[in-house]
């Protein structure tokens, strides 16, 4: 299974990379997030390829996909769905909203009001929605890839910490390197390739991989290493409070997926180090500066020894 997972992963990455040039690491992390069954938050400035990444992933994985552009006047019913009176049947009929898809791209999630945000986040947490007193199951797997602009931009409703916690990882794409940018500028619009993108994985394979993630071995000494990392964040004076136990579980889940993508059935410290920043950065309440959290996490990783 591990070798197979690795092959499938490489195939998906190759497909996504053809659309989103030069972002292999971000793509790998996004994929690890999906393997681990978590939701993904992509935060960056407009035009950095957030939407492209989400679309390419959806196409390459072959999930049913919708995109919702969040605006300040979007209402919960607009994403969940509404019951409409059917004159022929003389009854109300539920018209499911865009949320009833396997992969939902919530574009610019911080542009909408907290009311709509929380409707989405309930769905993310429970895997179900309640409409007019009736609970409706969402399809499985259910993924949300949300994008948001940095909070310093005007006209945004920042997500509170408790809701940020629902996202397994937060990624930043950043500017492409010169080589990738040259390709991007000289070639045709990569988005045109999106429609031709073939699936790299079947739903059954995806389920198998997700099951395999749970079987990836975590040794005692690795757990001890993770505990030391968590303890470091909790005892440091630089942050108000450290990573929660849920955060620790999220790290381990992501590290398992990362190890599996690397073709291993056991986690090594390098796996934890690879996923630690994207999993933890948005969970750390560091005041002052967008990059303080990343710096603190780097300091944590540099200070805590692996044995």
């Amino acid at each position: 299974m591990t070798k197979q997972s690795q092959q499938i992963t490489e195939a998906i990455i190759e497909r996504v990379e053809s659309v989103l040039v030069g972002k292999q690491h971000a793509v790998r992390l996004a994929l690890a997030c999906l393997y681990a069954g978590g939701h993904l938050l992509i935060e960056d400035l407009p035009g950095m390829g957030k939407t492209t990444l989400a679309q390419a992933l959806a196409a390459a994985i072959g999930l049913s996909y919708t995109r919702v552009q969040f605006t300040s006047d979007l209402l919960p019913a607009d994403i969940i769905g509404v019951s409409v009176y059917d004159r022929n049947k003389a009854a109300f009929e539920f018209h499911p909203g865009p949320l009833f898809n396997q992969l939902v791209l919530a574009d610019e999630i911080n542009r909408t009001t907290p009311k709509t945000q929380s409707a989405l986040l309930e769905a993310m947490g429970e895997g179900q929605v309640s409409v007019e007193g009736e609970t409706r199951q969402l399809p499985k797997p259910f993924y949300v890839i949300a994008t948001q602009n940095p909070l310093s931009q005007s006209g945004t409703f920042p997500l509170p910490e408790s809701q940020l916690d629902r996202f397994l990882m937060r990624l930043r794409l950043g500017y492409p390197d010169p080589e990738a940018e040259r390709q991007l500028l000289s070639g045709a619009d990569p988005r045109l390739k999106l429609s031709q993108l073939s699936k790299g994985i079947t739903p059954a394979q995806l389920q198998a991989i997700q099951a395999a993630v749970h079987r990836v071995k975590v040794s005692d000494s690795l757990v001890a290493y993770l505990q030391r990392l968590l303890q470091f964040t909790r005892s440091s004076a630089d942050v108000d409070y450290g990573i929660s136990p849920r955060g620790g579980m999220a790290v381990l889940k992501s590290a398992r997926a990362w190890a599996l993508m690397d073709g291993r059935d056991y986690v090594i410290p390098e796996d934890i180090q690879a996923v630690f920043a994207p999993v933890c950065a948005h969970r750390l309440p560091v005041s002052g500066g967008e990059h303080r959290a990343e710096n603190f996490i780097q300091q944590t990783l540099n200070s805590v020894d692996i044995i």
């Binding site: 005692d220 090594i268 390098e270 180090q273």
Partner: protein, 676 residues
């Protein structure tokens, strides 16, 4: 302005208690308004806590500080010296109550409380005050405890219980410190408590001793090796006055004497003038425990010698300490009651010194003295004639009428009422005018025998002045003209004689001495005194023993040697702690695999490739492979083995394989691509 930080409730409680207690301890030597301002500040702080009042503004605080500083200056007239400094510290401490904005402000107050309470020991070291200091430390510790672990609404009693436990636990340490802490004498100067001295002063003018008569304080205590001599033998010589300016008697030496050094130290060769002392018979040996007097003179029976290296015998046959006595002092003395002082004829300069009378004073006395001398040329007969005059016509009283310019004339031929210093002064003046060398001696007379313990209590009201007359062939004779007037003054103790008079002890209205006619209170007073004496004897005795021991250990006491000794003692004291830490250190919990991995890392470190903390085995190997490609294969294999043993948790085989691979893994600097 609201405080930025709220002090815990129980901490505030104990802090206020500590402030009140600290002020209370110093009440005796503080201007009363400092205590009052302390209470006001404490009340203000309570109102602040209840959010009823506001913090004082900047202007108010500055003016309060200014007012307090100038008030202190007005009260003391200076800022130097111990008392004004302590008062200044106390006012600052009290005003600090009004600006607790942060945790650190409260901590400053708590630590200051410790200092201020301990400062009390500079003023008094009796057993009662030591116990009071110990008790006063308790609420401060409680405040400190409450500050650090008090929850929002915990009860003050909880903190007090913890503080009590801590204090009790600290007692063994306290005893150890008492035993080993060196008593370093004068490495630095302690400022004098008062400018004024306590007890007898270095000069005598009419009326001085009435002040002492009103004080029931202890002057000193004496413990004899044998039985206590007769009351009439107990003349404690302190000062000898040979100079007289018409009103005031004062000391002459060391300038008046010119045959050698004025002071003779026990560890230095004998001065030539020591020959004029004839000591006969067995000496009386005893120990005097003197209360602080702020002056260097000591009290002893004639004629004394002390073995203590800090005590000297002076040319006028009394004992002098090397420094002013600013805290309780114990010194051993041997006295030869049977003695002769300067029996051979006095040289001219000595006679001039002991016969000098100021011109233009007391003409009547001078005239009558010369008449008497012509009538009775024999000095002893002359002396007895004068004493008989005292006995027949004079009255002993503590409330004599005031005297004008010619003090002796007015007293001898006018008022005829007075007490010891009037008699001593007029007697000496008369004898000098008649051509007989004489001088005034001041000290204490008698003392109170403790009924159960074998020691003598000498109070300030036992202060006395008498005379010494020089007779050729017999030397200096002690003459007490007061005894001629009121023999009971000498036979009985002063307190027994005057205990019922209103004036007696009017300076100490609450003293137990005043209640001495109530039997049980009197025995309580004596019991308390014997406890206090035992306490100070124990502390002082230990201090003397320890300083002798230190002297023996160090040879000579200087700051370097003291520092060395402290370091050594500190090292010895800390040694058990070190052992405890060593035994209790974190056991090496590394298992075999980690130890092997660390070996692997240290081998690479030796060739200049240390593993960074937080660097995983794989990243490390990859990094090194770039720097030393020759090692890449070995590194890769070791990493694989380590990872599968460590993280894949396979059978123990990998450990063995890793061990085997490590045995042949011998990286050297030659493997490096770039040698640094």
């Amino acid at each position: 302005m609201r405080p930025l930080w709220q002090i815990p409730r129980d901490c505030l409680f104990w802090l206020l208690v500590s402030v009140i207690i600290s002020i209370g301890l110093h009440l005796g030597h503080l201007p009363p308004w400092v205590a009052l301002s302390g209470i006001i500040a404490a009340g203000w702080q309570i109102q602040l806590y209840r959010e009823r009042w506001r913090q004082p503004g900047r202007l108010l605080k500055w003016s309060l500080a200014g007012a307090c500083a100038s008030g202190l200056f007005l009260h003391y007239g200076r800022f130097t010296g111990l008392e004004p400094m302590v008062a200044l510290l106390l006012t600052g401490y009290v005003l600090k109550l009004l600006e607790i904005h942060h945790r650190r402000d409260a901590l400053v107050l708590i630590y200051l409380s410790y200092l201020i309470i301990i400062l009390q020991s500079l003023f008094s070291t009796t057993m009662v005050s030591s116990l009071l200091v110990l008790a006063a430390l308790l609420p401060v510790t409680a405040a400190l405890v409450a500050m650090h672990c008090g929850a929002e609404n915990s009860r003050p009693a909880t903190a007090l219980r913890t503080a009590l436990t801590i204090t009790v636990q600290a007692i063994p340490l306290m005893l150890v410190m008492f035993i080993v802490m060196p008593r370093i004498g004068s490495l630095w100067a302690v400022p004098q408590q008062n400018s004024a001295t306590t007890g007898v002063s270095d000069s005598m003018s009419p009326g001085d001793m009435t002040q002492l008569g009103r004080s029931g304080k202890i002057a000193f205590r004496v413990e004899f090796d044998g039985p206590i001599p007769e009351q009439s033998q107990l003349y404690w010589r302190g000062l000898v006055f040979s100079g007289f300016d018409g009103r005031r008697w004062d000391q002459q030496g060391p300038w008046g004497y010119n045959d050698g050094q004025f002071l003779q130290w026990s560890n230095q060769p004998q001065e030539t003038w020591d020959q004029v002392i004839t000591r006969r018979g067995a000496p009386l040996s005893y120990r005097v425990t003197l209360e602080a007097t702020n002056s260097p003179w000591l009290f002893a029976l004639s004629t004394p010698l002390s073995q203590s290296s800090t005590v000297a015998l002076s040319r006028d046959f009394r004992l002098v300490n090397r420094e002013p006595v600013i805290s309780k002092l114990q010194y051993p003395v041997k006295s030869w009651l049977d003695n002769q002082l300067e029996p051979a004829s006095l040289p001219g300069w000595r006679k001039r010194l002991e016969l000098a009378i100021p011109a233009g004073f007391n003409p009547k006395t001078v005239e009558i003295a010369q008449q008497w001398r012509e009538q009775t040329p024999e000095p002893l007969v002359l002396m007895n004639r004068l004493l008989a005059l005292y006995n027949q016509q004079f009255i002993y009283t503590l409330r004599p009428p005031a005297l004008g310019k010619h003090t002796v004339d007015e007293f001898l031929w006018g008022t005829k009422k007075g007490f010891c210093e009037f008699y001593a002064s007029s007697f000496v003046f008369f004898m000098r005018a008649a051509g007989v060398p004489a001088r005034v001696v001041v000290g204490y007379q008698g003392g109170e025998r403790h009924p159960t313990e074998n020691y003598l209590l000498v109070h300030q009201y036992d202060a006395h002045a008498w005379a010494e007359v020089w007779i050729e062939g017999r030397g200096w004779l002690r003459v007490d003209p007061t005894a001629a007037v009121a023999p009971e003054r000498i036979e009985m103790s002063f307190a027994d004689l005057f205990g019922e008079q209103d004036d007696f002890l009017s300076a100490s209205p609450l003293s137990l001495e005043r209640m001495r006619h109530i039997r049980w209170l009197n025995s309580l007073r004596l019991k308390l005194d014997s406890l206090d004496y035992a306490w100070s004897k124990w502390v002082l005795g230990y201090e003397n023993m320890q300083s002798d021991f230190l002297l023996g250990l160090l040879g000579e006491i200087n700051p370097q040697r003291i520092a060395l000794l402290l370091l050594l003692a500190g090292a010895i004291a800390l040694f058990p702690v070190f052992i405890m830490l060593y035994l209790g250190r974190e056991k090496n919990t590394r298992d075999e695999l980690d130890r092997l991995f660390l070996q692997y890392c240290s081998r690479l470190e030796k060739i200049g490739l240390p593993r960074q903390p937080g660097e995983g085995a794989r990243d490390f190997a990859q990094r090194i492979s770039l720097l030393a490609p020759g090692l890449a294969a070995a590194l890769d294999r070791l990493t694989q083995l380590y990872e599968s043993a460590r993280y894949a948790e396979q059978s123990g085989a990998e450990i063995l394989l890793f061990k085997k691979a490590l045995k042949v893994f011998k990286p050297s600097r030659k493997d490096l691509l770039i040698r640094v």
